[in-house]
């Protein structure tokens, strides 16, 4: 009986020892990957930040309106943000590899999942950036065109368009990364549809006379302005 217990203990110890002998190199390798990944991610971050500085990326984000949005959201400047995102993507990649090296059963297949997610995440970021660019361009163009046409509420109209385009960009980005896709899409469709229907009813029924007056005034004002360049030339 005692002998059996002793054999079991020895066997258990041998199993533990052999597992430990197998695990320690993996742990060391994982630690190296973890630490090395951190250093590499740091280097990549610095390189990205320098490249963005060299490309005068700040000016581009200022023009696109992204800087203003980031400032309002209490986020760091766009170049710092991008460098941080790249840092975390690289480091998380190494962390996942390190965990995979440990060959722990619950984390099997984590690397494949991660590398499937990264491209979707990058595309989502790209969609979001393009959304900001388009939104800002349309905001400027609409505001200037409305002011030139003498339309009332130019800022409200152009601002609404900007928010709408950004919202579309955000929804597309969320859909790309697969975050609460159905909820986001349904919420967006309901809100957008309700807004447009409300506007259509308000403008078509409630504001019919006001709309006619507005259009007539615009046409009259346009006619009045037809020859207004003459005294200036």
């Amino acid at each position: 009986m005692i002998q059996e217990i002793a054999d079991a203990l020895v066997q258990s110890w041998r199993n533990f020892a052999s597992a430990f002998v197998l695990f320690v190199p993996r742990l060391v390798a994982a630690t190296i990957i973890f630490a090395g990944g951190f250093l590499i991610a740091l280097i990549v971050k610095r390189a990205i930040q320098r490249a963005l500085d060299w490309m005068d990326f700040d000016r581009l984000t200022l023009r696109s309106g992204a800087s203003e949005m980031l400032r309002l959201a209490d986020m760091p400047p766009a170049d710092v943000l991008i460098a941080k995102i790249v840092f975390w993507i690289v480091w998380i990649g190494f962390i996942v590899s390190a965990v995979d090296t440990l060959q722990l059963a619950p984390f099997q297949g984590l690397v494949e999942e991660f590398f499937r997610f990264v491209p979707r995440f990058l595309v989502a970021l790209l969609v979001l950036s393009i959304g900001f660019l388009v939104a800002n361009f349309l905001w400027r163009a609409t505001l200037l065109a409305s002011v030139n046409a003498g339309l009332p509420g130019a800022r409200l109209m152009s601002g609404s368009l900007r928010v709408l385009v950004i919202a579309i960009g955000v929804v597309m980005a969320l859909e790309q990364v697969g975050l609460a896709t159905s909820v986001v899409l349904a919420a967006f469709a309901i809100t957008f549809g309700a807004l447009m229907l409300g506007l259509a009813i308000a403008f078509g029924l409630g504001g019919r006379d006001a709309a006619r007056t507005l259009i007539e005034e615009q046409l009259r004002a346009k006619r009045d302005r037809e020859s207004d360049a003459a005294p200036h030339l």
Binding site: D56, R59, R155, R225, A230, H232, L233
Partner: protein, 419 residues
């Protein structure tokens, strides 16, 4: 530049039949039926009476008139009164009708005329504004003669204006061109001019004709190109023609002028950055002397419109103007009446030029943003000078030119460097 490829085959055949000429008169037309017959007769009387020994041709480059303008040009005949003035022509009076192809606009018409001039080896080229009501044989001759004699290679009209007239010219284009190109051109935007064959050939070789911006920039670009390439420039007094025929709105015109100015500045950067001593130009013709009355217009309404527009586009102005300049401009537009002193106006103009050059927004957007600021300045100028006699207003215009000149180094310093 391959002249043959610029000209349609039918026009090429007609020009080959004409052969070499000494003087070429170009008429870029678009729906000018009301005035074109008188212009054609004036040109022909000038040819037969004042240049009987020279080989001449008149070329109409039409942009697709729907009112029968080319037909009227083809059918125009001498009247009895014309015959009294002229002797029997010694040479054939060539009249070539050439509808142009390509992008619509005066630049395409001018390109056709210049290409025809190169093919016919014309020594003097005159481009007439077909809408001008004051084209007489004497004035056609006056425009051709200095170039035909070789006294000058580019001749631009000048007008005796009331100093409160033509605010866009006096507040922006004239002082800007004077300060940057160091040339005392009175009318940088004029539609008429005459030039040498050498200048027209030079222009044909430049990379401007296929640019979309050339549609609006061409008149200003021709003048600034002549200055930048040091072609001898002169001016000639012409009777003031009413700009009431202009179908464009003020916003459109200011927008186009901004595009034209920027296109010219970009094309001639190496010249204007170093041009300093202003050269006064030789002048022909007789100064009418009498200052015409100023056309009345409601500048208070313009000021109110400008104020409303500036409030609306404030976030855009904040994005593109330097912070200090933005604050000063907004302070000025918040006052009771229109107010924008010379120095702040010039800094605003230079600030916009720099912002466009640095690409702080699309150039069309920048031009639109500039419009209300110009309207504000125009209203401020008209309001300030309302009680002043013409001589006092003229002094203020001279002072504005000096301010543009004095602050030019700020534009030179910031044009190529982001600040």
């Amino acid at each position: 530049m391959d002249t043959d490829s610029t000209l349609p085959d039918a026009l090429l055949r007609q020009l080959i039949a004409v052969g070499q000429v000494d003087v070429l008169v170009g008429l870029p037309t678009l729906n000018n039926a009301a005035t074109i017959t008188d212009v054609v007769r004036a040109v022909h009387v000038s040819f037969t009476r004042d240049f009987p020994r020279l080989r001449t041709v008149m070329i109409n480059s039409d942009g697709g008139s729907t009112d029968g303008t080319p037909d009227l040009i083809g059918e125009a005949r001498f009247t009895e009164a014309d015959r009294v003035q002229t002797s029997h022509p010694l040479r054939t009076l060539h009249r070539v009708l050439a509808p142009y192809h390509g992008l619509p606009g005066k630049h395409t018409a001018l390109r056709t005329i210049f290409a025809a001039a190169e093919l016919t080896q014309a020594k003097a080229i005159l481009v007439i504004d077909p809408a001008g009501p004051s084209t007489t044989p004497e004035r056609v001759t006056e425009l051709i003669a200095p170039v035909a004699r070789g006294d000058v290679e580019f001749l631009a009209p000048r007008y005796r204006r009331h100093p409160r007239d033509g605010v866009l010219i006096t507040q922006l284009v004239r002082p800007l061109v004077r300060a940057l190109y160091a040339v005392g051109l009175d009318e940088p935007l004029g539609a008429e001019f005459s030039c040498s064959g050498r200048f027209s050939s030079h222009c044909l070789e430049q990379d401007i004709w296929d640019h979309e911006s050339a549609r609006f920039a061409i008149d200003l670009w021709l003048r600034t190109e002549a200055a930048a390439e040091r072609f001898p420039i002169g001016q000639i007094w012409r009777p003031m023609s009413s700009p009431a025929g202009s179908r464009a709105t003020l916003r459109d015109v200011v927008h186009q002028v901004v595009l034209a100015v920027i296109e010219s500045l970009r094309a001639h950067e190496s010249f204007w950055r170093n041009a300093n001593a202003i050269s006064e130009l030789r002048s022909w013709g007789t100064d009418p002397g009498v200052i015409p009355d100023v056309m009345p217009w409601d500048f208070q309404a313009l000021a109110e419109q400008a104020r409303r527009d500036i409030v609306e586009i404030t976030p855009l102005l904040e994005d593109v103007l330097d912070p200090g300049l933005f604050v000063r401009v907004m302070d000025n537009t918040n006052g009771a009446g229109p107010r924008l002193d010379d120095e702040l106006w010039v800094r605003t103009v230079y600030g916009f030029a720099t912002a466009i050059q640095h690409g702080r927004a699309a150039i069309d957007h920048m031009a639109d943003m500039f419009v209300p600021l110009y309207m504000w300045r125009a209203a401020a100028f008209m309001s300030d000078t309302a009680p002043d006699p013409p001589i006092a207003v003229q002094s203020r215009l001279d002072a504005l030119c000096d301010t543009f000149q004095r602050l030019k180094p700020t534009l030179v310093a910031t044009w190529s460097n982001e600040v």
